[in-house]
């Protein structure tokens, strides 16, 4: 699993870490029952505060992506992979909504929008 955090990004640290763990699960790098590193070692390796990792784990558990078993550690709980796929889709949908709103405000037609998107998509 790769987790690389950027100090200069606008996204909060805990958010970055959460997203990257979710990505790892989504892309199959982590599967059901795989153990996650202990809070302490994870914090040490990433050089972030133990409190941040603790929050990551707590929130992810509340959201249903991981589960912690007392004395054993924290593990991936894949039953929510659909939820994950859904939430990613929802994120893109939200961005699309914003895009469509702006386009409408600026009187850009749907066809123009689709053309623009084709071009930009190829650019990456």
């Amino acid at each position: 699993m790769k987790v690389i955090i950027s100090n200069s990004s606008d996204v909060p640290l805990y958010q970055q870490i959460k997203e990257q763990i979710k990505d790892a699960v989504f892309m199959g790098e982590l599967s059901e029952g795989d153990p996650l590193p202990s809070i302490r070692s994870f914090a040490n390796d990433l050089k972030v505060s133990i409190l941040t990792i603790r929050r990551v784990y707590e929130e992810m558990e509340a959201e249903g992506f991981i589960v912690s078993r007392a004395g054993l550690g924290t593990f991936v709980s894949v039953k929510n992979i659909e939820l994950l796929r859904d939430s990613k889709r929802r994120l893109v949908e939200e961005k699309m909504q914003e895009m469509i709103q702006s386009a409408k405000t600026l009187s850009i037609s749907k066809e123009e929008l689709i053309t623009m998107m084709d071009i930009l998509y190829e650019e990456d």
């Binding site: 100090n7 909060p12 302490r40 505060s49 133990i50 409190l51």
Partner: protein, 286 residues
């Protein structure tokens, strides 16, 4: 997860200065930075915690136990680093150690020797001949050689060069790796804390201004720069502190989204802990 140190309602009145209702909690496994400008009350607070001064009122619990009722037991598990002049100058380090070591039931000569070697300290050297940095290292050696669960340090890095400071920070992180430990240190060199602190507590004029996770602070606060002609009474309120010149304004705020909405053409940058600290101190003087 327990709290290693709990201070509540600490009051201490002096003629010209007082600590007012100082309360904070240190969770386990955290390095907590206690920040503030000179004279803010850091040393007084630490002394009150350690029982060096009589508090006017308030409660101090360490490891969940009341300091007053369990003094010896608690002090046995605390490592203390006060500033460098807290040794008997005419003694050698070996002699000083022979005075301090027997006080602790868990003293480890093995740990002591390891640290002395790591710091390249010669025990037969007289303390008066040591540099500031070496004294701090010696103080740290003594504090770390009896399996302490809580390290309390009062401005351990002031007057030290960046190399020694980074060595100290490294030792702190190593110490924390053992688990179940805590570090509480006061400083006004906030750049040290950027790397190493989990929690930050700001004190000013004897009062606690905030007690927050460091990552939270750095995530939430931003430095905003823009044209000061666009500032008005409304949007000025968004800022904790604001400085204007003829060429623009610079402000610190944690209401970044609102600022972006109500003030166009601004530059948003991350703050340092120092920015946040100064903003709170100046902001309080508004």
């Amino acid at each position: 997860m327990g709290n290693i140190l709990e201070v509540s309602g600490l009051h201490k009145a002096y003629k010209d200065f007082s600590l007012t209702d100082v309360s904070f909690t240190l969770p386990e496994d955290c390095i907590t930075g206690f920040i503030g400008i000179n004279g803010a009350g850091k040393t007084t607070t630490i002394r009150a915690i350690l029982g060096l001064v009589q508090k006017t009122s308030g409660m101090i619990k360490i490891f969940g136990k009341n300091m007053e009722d369990n003094e010896q037991e608690i002090k046995n598990r605390i490592g203390v680093v006060l500033d460098e002049s807290c040794f008997y100058e005419d003694l050698t380090m070996k002699e000083m150690k022979s005075v301090i070591a027997p006080a602790y039931s868990e003293w480890s000569d093995k740990d002591y020797k390891e640290y002395m070697d790591r710091f390249s300290l010669n025990p037969r050297q007289k303390i008066s001949t040591l540099s500031k940095g070496m004294r701090m290292k010696f103080a740290l050696t003594l504090a770390l050689s009896h399996s302490a669960d809580l390290l309390i340090m009062d401005e351990p890095t002031s007057g030290l060069d960046p190399l020694i400071r980074s060595q100290l920070l490294e030792i702190m992180t190593d110490y924390m790796k053992q688990g179940g430990k805590g570090v509480f240190f006061s400083t006004h060199i906030t750049s040290d804390l950027e790397k190493v602190a989990d929690m930050l507590i700001l004190i000013n004029d004897g009062k606690i201004l905030f007690e927050q996770e460091k990552d939270d602070l750095l995530d939430n606060y931003r430095l905003i720069k823009g044209d000061n002609r666009i500032l008005n009474d409304e949007n000025k309120k968004l800022f904790l502190s604001l400085r204007t010149t003829d060429f623009g304004f610079t402000g610190v705020t944690n209401k970044v989204a609102e600022a972006q909405k109500s003030i166009p053409d601004i530059i948003v940058e991350k703050t340092t802990i120092e920015d946040i600290m100064l903003a709170h101190i100046e902001g309080g003087n508004k």
